[in-house]
């Protein structure tokens, strides 16, 4: 008997096999995507229901009372809700909410995750930690020196949003050296932190680094810190054109005629500098 010879696949046969395989893979991928959507929607729905259930407890916390004991999952949902709400309010409301969060040890897990080797995990933990950031300035200061630029930038934003004026010198120094943060992010953070006195800028207004000093003087002017006048006037004698121009701009913003003498004494080194200085002198003289 002659043994049967396996059929040699033809080109249309191969094409059909390829088509079937591709269709199966595509079908599986589509199923995975749909399943992932369904699971996400179900989880979001469950979280929303849980939030609705625990929302009244926030009002108890805001009023300074202790909410009733809740099951573990509801307590976790309440913590997340309190953290979200704390970032929308300020004053006594915020204080009551953050104190409750601290009492619940909300910060522990996030502080641990902020040491994760993965930048995304650190960033997420930092973002969740933000509502109680003002109670842990050293943790935020550490994150300003994170090895990932996005995490450092987020830390600067958190410092600004949380009004952490004590971190202003550290923020300003991050514009230079290693592990820098873009100056525009630093500027926004300092403006939002809104230090009320030049004392909160530390020695950055006399920093040996011209860029740090120029930014500090510029922001002091933008914040209208009248007690910064002398530090700003001192910047007019700097060998750096950036520092001198930052001082001129800040003097213009403060608008004090007391700075006229310092401006007139200033030795300008370019036509542009001379022009700006003369404009400010004119404005202060005219009134």
């Amino acid at each position: 008997m002659i043994p049967s010879i396996p059929a040699i696949p033809t080109i249309p046969g191969l094409a059909m096999a390829l088509l079937l395989t591709t269709a199966t893979v595509c079908g599986l991928l589509a199923l995975i995507v749909v399943a992932e959507r369904i699971i996400r929607t179900a989880l979001a729905h469950r979280e929303e229901k849980r939030r609705d259930r625990v929302r009244p407890h926030i009002l108890t916390i805001v009023d300074g009372d202790t909410p009733a004991t809740l099951p573990r999952r509801d307590r976790a949902a309440l913590s997340r809700l309190v953290a979200d709400t704390a970032s929308q309010v300020r004053g006594e409301d915020r204080e009551a909410l953050t104190q409750w969060l601290i009492g619940q040890q909300f910060h522990r897990a996030h502080l641990r995750r902020m040491k994760s080797p993965f930048a995304l995990t650190r960033a997420r933990a930092l973002d969740r930690f933000a509502p109680i950031a003002e109670h842990a300035p050293r943790s935020i200061e550490r994150m300003l020196g994170d090895r990932d630029l996005r995490v450092r930038s987020l830390a600067a934003q958190v410092a600004g949003r949380s009004g952490m004026a004590a971190l202003v010198p550290e923020l300003l120094r991050r514009t230079e050296g290693t592990r820098v943060i873009p100056a525009r992010i630093i500027s926004m953070a300092v403006l939002r932190a809104a230090p009320s006195s030049i004392a909160e800028f530390g020695d950055t207004v006399t920093d040996s680094n011209h860029r740090v000093r120029a930014l500090a003087l510029d922001l002091a002017g933008q914040l209208n810190l009248v007690d910064a006048r002398r530090a700003i006037e001192a910047g007019l004698d700097s060998p750096s054109a950036d520092v001198r121009m930052a001082s001129v701009r800040s003097i213009q913003r403060l608008g004090s005629p007391l700075s006229l003498a310092a401006l007139k004494r200033m030795e300008t080194q370019s036509p542009e500098e001379l022009f700006h200085t003369e404009v400010v002198i004119h404005e202060l003289t005219v009134g």
Partner: protein, 121 residues
């Protein structure tokens, strides 16, 4: 006691503001978007409307314009409660007819004090 309409799409903020207003003894109505807010305003003729700016369907500024254009609401005070904190945003809201402006993050106690001040005018 005054009738206060709160139009705010954020449930957490809305719950907090409702809580404070009720504590102060006001009758409170709520809506979560601009279109529904306008409908509720026409139905209840509130003494005060606390209005978010960024909302679905119709934004707070449009609602503010519409309320101010209607003589029914001549005595209604409008307080904007929004995260838009730029100088020009505040100017636009006041130009549109808002009586006061509170920026988020906000203090619910300050908001209540401002609301009561508006209501006592």
């Amino acid at each position: 006691m005054a009738v206060v309409l709160i139009v705010e799409d954020d449930e957490d903020v809305r719950a907090l503001v409702v809580h404070r207003m009720k504590q102060a003894g006001h009758e409170v109505h709520t809506e979560h978007d601009g279109e529904a807010g306008l409908g509720a305003a026409r139905a209840s003729i509130p003494d005060l409307v606390i209005l978010d700016w960024m909302m679905p369907r119709r934004n707070g500024l449009e609602v503010c314009f519409e309320l101010r254009a209607d003589p029914l609401f001549a005595a209604t005070r409008i307080l904007m409660l929004t995260a838009k904190a730029q100088e020009q945003d505040i100017e636009r809201a006041l130009a549109a007819g808002a009586d006061d402006y509170v920026v988020k993050p906000f203090s619910s106690r300050e908001l209540l004090a401002r609301a009561n001040a508006l209501l006592s005018r």
